[in-house]
Symmetry: C2
Subunit: 230 residues, 2 copies
């Protein structure tokens, strides 16, 4: 199938625009020697819990899921933490560092007139706070949260938010994610997908390949500029 | 709510009756120094892929999912493997070692007259081969595979196989699993759950607790004998 023209872009937020491992420094300060392990297991359980709650139809908002995952990660690693430390880490999650190239790329796409959205597991509040803190307010036409459908990615209901918001068919929307599982789910759904492979991972063995792969958001800019002119 | 009497037992297979890490020795022989990492990442991706394929309604049988997960794990760890080695590891998955206490416990429960089933993500073929190899043929009244509903745990359709097969309400079925996520999903579904916490993990932070916890299958025998007399 030839490449569809790209008429809009939907970005994943956590891991794609915002560095979820930017909590590592604080975690390391709070729990010396364990910061890296805490932030990795925290992220792993956060995703697992989002899957499980969707499979079992037990949706809870992403900030609650994120805090539960943190509790599990700390216990599993034998880290003794009080509520004050939990609160600090959760507050840090609202101030995740954007990857360095992101703001300039988003502004360039905006200048090109490309409609853009975030489509994220995060709650509306988390998305609003994170984009504001990253200086990205006003860049996006839509901040789409799965909270409005009560199902996490990779369900159809979650991804359908973007075609509905843009009024554009899925294959003409470029879905951009650094998360292999999210790019796969988005591809199954029908988006044209761009996988930002930031950590040199192999492709997921799920029988669905991204339309394009890069290592940072600047690669998305090149791809979109090539595929808007068709 | 008082404990319901236990009228039947449904066992998870992989990780609960059969040691999924019993492939480690072969993996270590094939890929010296990497056996442990390969078997751990293999298992992690196998579970993740089962979740994703269910969330996205892209069911594939568990042996195919398991082989895909192995391919990913080997690539991610930079292990160069040929199809012959993949085939060896997949064949080993049909001969997973049962945990040492399991057969005697199952035979004791059988002698007590408790109806028993396996309820597993595995295909009917995998369950048949694994139980036969473990000397468990004839112990179970039902080998229930989610393959018949085309959805992996933790969906309602998957767990519903047990009440349907036994003709017994979920709360009077003891669901036994070593996998925290599976015990949580089973508890949400409505089973009375027994979590065999074989590796000293903290409880999952999912707001649902098992009815009982133990460290090996003998603990299940004690629990069932106490709760059949009510």
């Amino acid at each position: 199938m030839p490449q569809s023209p790209i008429r809009a872009i939907a970005f994943d937020a956590f891991g794609t625009l915002f560095d979820v491992f930017s909590v590592t420094a604080l975690a390391e300060r709070l729990f010396p020697g364990q910061g890296d392990a805490v932030s990795r297991l925290w992220r792993l359980k956060q995703i697992e819990y989002s899957f499980l709650r969707t499979l079992s139809k037990r949706y809870e908002p992403f900030d609650a899921v994120t805090e539960s995952a943190l509790h599990f990660a700390l216990s599993a690693l034998g880290v003794s933490a009080g509520q004050a430390q939990i609160d600090l880490l959760m507050a840090q999650y609202d101030r995740l560092t954007p990857f360095p190239e992101n703001l300039a790329v988003l502004q360039a796409l905006k200048a090109d007139g490309v409609p853009m959205a975030i489509l994220s597991n995060g709650t509306p509040r988390m998305l609003e706070v994170c984009t504001r803190h990253a200086g990205m307010s006003g860049v996006f036409d839509h901040l789409l949260s799965v909270d409005t459908v009560g199902q996490y990615k990779t369900t159809e209901a979650a991804y359908q938010l973007a075609p509905d918001a843009f009024g554009v068919p899925a294959r003409e929307i470029l879905f951009v994610s650094s998360n292999g599982w999210d790019a796969a789910g988005a591809g199954w759904f029908g988006f044209t997908t761009f996988w930002i492979n930031r950590s040199a991972q192999p492709p997921e063995a799920l029988g669905v390949a991204p339309a394009a792969t890069g290592t940072q958001l600047t690669d998305v800019l090149d791809f979109v500029r090539r595929h808007r002119q068709h």
